[in-house]
Symmetry: C2
Subunit: 427 residues, 2 copies
């Protein structure tokens, strides 16, 4: 059965995924003579850079999730359908989804990325991922549940495992999450659990490579490590994780750790939909696109953002998987589409890198914009201001701002709620 969408004479552009890329593209095309059908398995856009604050009880989900229908209120050529695409039938210009089939004239895949366990089923079944709102809420529940359990046990080893946090992966997510857990340890949890000895709580960040934040400049990499250590984290560089059975983690160089809290932030892969040729997807699970965002071998199928990889002179292995790339690719796609209608030649993608930043804790962040580098309070303040600007919706900006001011002044994280207890069986 077909998905119930009006049949119109203008071309139908189907966008799969309402992350930064999909959202931007649908907005860019608001005045175009097209029918836009956006599909997403959720009815909200997720502001992913702040997921770690959901996980660490600093923000509630509604602050960083925004209803898709509200974003596009009043846009006449826009149709949203909540559903999950299971297959592309490129020969018939058709998608198969869990809510029916859908024809397209142009298809833009903007499904983003998900956690990559690199095929290790032990990690997959035992480690906590943090790439969606639900996963972040599960992690929050687990952290709080484990402290409740730590109070109940009289077994020293079990308590040690319950109070040991291992974050695998020293990219921005791993660094920010490890920093936020350290702040919980320093300012919040000792108030909640005066019966526990917090000298026994450990936060360990494990990174395969020789540096944290490998995409930043050397001085910021070092600074991030210093910040984390000041906050009480242990940073283990050049350390890969070999095994984890849900209780005992073992690194490749033979160190063992008892932990019931292991977060996997060590890699992502594209969210691939079945049906594209195998030659379109690289070994990192990303769709190979040309400099116009078109998928290799297809005229009317494109991909943008985290799910896609484009090789160019400056970025031979593809651009970084960050929001600005997705947004700029969406803008390029819309621009080229409109040029195409006017019989103008398409322009190639040219990524404008506005810089990058990462926050570790209060008054601790690293920022680089071109040759300019700074950190400390100014970096942290810049990080906050920018994230507030980028958040969708004024109410969300206000609520997040209040939470941040509140947490800053009170050294607090208010949202220490176990609304849905996490249980490994259920997921």
């Amino acid at each position: 059965m077909n998905i119930n969408v009006p049949e119109v004479k203008v071309p139908r552009i189907v966008i799969v995924g309402c992350g930064f890329g999909g959202m931007e593209l649908a907005q860019q095309l608001r005045n175009a003579e097209v029918q836009i059908v956006l599909l997403d398995k959720h009815n909200y856009h997720t502001f992913q850079p702040l997921l770690y604050q959901i996980a660490t009880a600093g923000l509630e989900a509604d602050s960083i999730a925004y209803p898709i229908r509200k974003i596009f209120k009043g846009q006449k050529n826009f149709y949203f359908r909540m559903g999950e695409v299971t297959q592309i039938l490129a020969g018939e210009n058709k998608l198969i989804t869990n809510i029916g089939e859908l024809k397209y004239d142009h298809l833009v895949i903007a499904t983003g990325s998900t956690t990559n366990f690199f095929g290790n089923t032990d990690f997959e079944s035992q480690a906590m991922p943090m790439k969606s709102v639900t996963e972040a809420l599960n992690l929050r529940s687990l952290i709080l549940q484990n402290f409740e359990r730590a109070l109940l046990t009289t077994d020293v080893h079990e308590r040690e495992a319950l109070m040991t946090f291992v974050v695998v992966g020293g990219g921005p997510t791993g660094v920010e999450l490890a920093g936020a857990i350290c702040e919980l340890k320093k300012h919040v949890l000792p108030n909640d659990y005066p019966e526990l000895d917090f000298r026994k709580m450990r936060v360990i960040l494990v990174e395969n490579g020789p540096d944290l934040l490998a995409s930043m400049c050397p001085e910021n990499r070092t600074k991030a490590k210093e910040y984390l250590e000041e906050l009480g984290a242990e940073v283990w560089l050049n350390t890969g994780l070999a095994k984890y059975n849900g209780m005992l983690a073992e690194t490749k160089n033979g160190k063992q750790l008892r932990t019931l809290n292991l977060v996997w932030a060590a890699g992502v892969k594209g969210v691939i939909i079945d049906g594209l040729g195998a030659e379109c997807v690289n070994q990192r699970g990303r769709i190979i696109i040309d400099e116009y965002c078109k998928v290799k071998g297809y005229q009317n199928i494109s991909a943008i953002g985290d799910v896609a990889t484009m090789s160019c002179e400056k970025y031979p292995n593809g651009h970084p998987q960050v929001a600005p790339v997705a947004i700029q690719q969406a803008q390029l796609w819309a621009h080229n589409y409109l040029r195409g209608i006017k019989q103008q030649a398409a322009v190639k993608f040219d990524y404008f890198d506005k810089g990058s930043m990462s926050t570790v804790g209060r008054n601790k962040a690293v920022v680089e914009v071109g040759k300019i580098r700074f950190g400390g309070f100014l970096g942290w303040f810049t990080w906050m201001a920018l994230h507030l600007m980028l958040l969708v919706g004024y109410r969300n900006k206000i609520v997040v701002f209040i939470n941040w001011v509140w947490n800053y002044l009170n050294y607090d994280r208010n949202i220490r709620l176990i609304i849905r207890p996490f249980s490994r069986k259920e997921t």
Copy 2:
């Protein structure tokens, strides 16, 4: 195994449940020479009067749930353990819980109430209850999911069922929920679903008795009905629900309704723990207590709040199941406990009724305080101010206030998020 709580020489008072009653009691005893152990299956206190705003996307869960450990931060004689009590072994002064056993010197049951389906398993399996945060979140998801489904179907009957909302029970919860759904219909959903015909959306409040808000004065009962009808609800008085199979509802007087959204707010019963004698529990599932809140036949077991019922001259069938009764009974219990230590005689419970109020929609509420009655904007404003005052925590007050101002000015409900889709199988 015993729950891990320090063994001390002072009497141990175990409180089960951190609703309004249990929370107040633990606070009242903060300076007493006792050890307080509070058990609750959640790690948060729920401000139940605003659950309907969670369900109708007006507020997020964190605004009305408050971490128990934070409430009691710094209280030296207080111990919280997250767990569910499964049995009372009164002969041994002991509780059995899912986290171990616990001895008590005094036991205070403050477990509150839950939805009463009066033994009808069809209603129980098919109707939506709304007595906990999770249930309210499930209801929110269901409402939004059903509108997404309404867009997808081409079957007129199915769409009708998806867009028909039946609320059973004309007490405060039913009235407030029906009013809030009407406001979604009027101001919010048509923006989200311009493709649907909202003249087809129905909100029906079904009440067994001859009046809404039976506990209020006749003029306010009438006014509440008028308010609801102005907002577009149908109010069916003197109408009991006979059957509901998940799709078709039938009233006792033979009316049929296709609906996939049926909310049961037609009754509550006490949350009873096994182990008390059958003679202690009445046919409405409430524990019979004397005028000192002691459970019939036990010297060191008391019950307070919704779970308890006390017969007295003014309230021969027990007090209303509202927060002020629970709070005043908690205060009485603490007062009598302290008097007992000083060998003073216990005093009897004397409920001071501060009045009652109920809100239907913007600028629409009914208030009565003794002989004073008012409604309209003033009633609505009073309702808001009082609820803000009663909410636990300043951050919550601020966030709720901002949401209310925002929603009022923008005719909006921002939190239209399906974070965890509701599926009947899972629950």
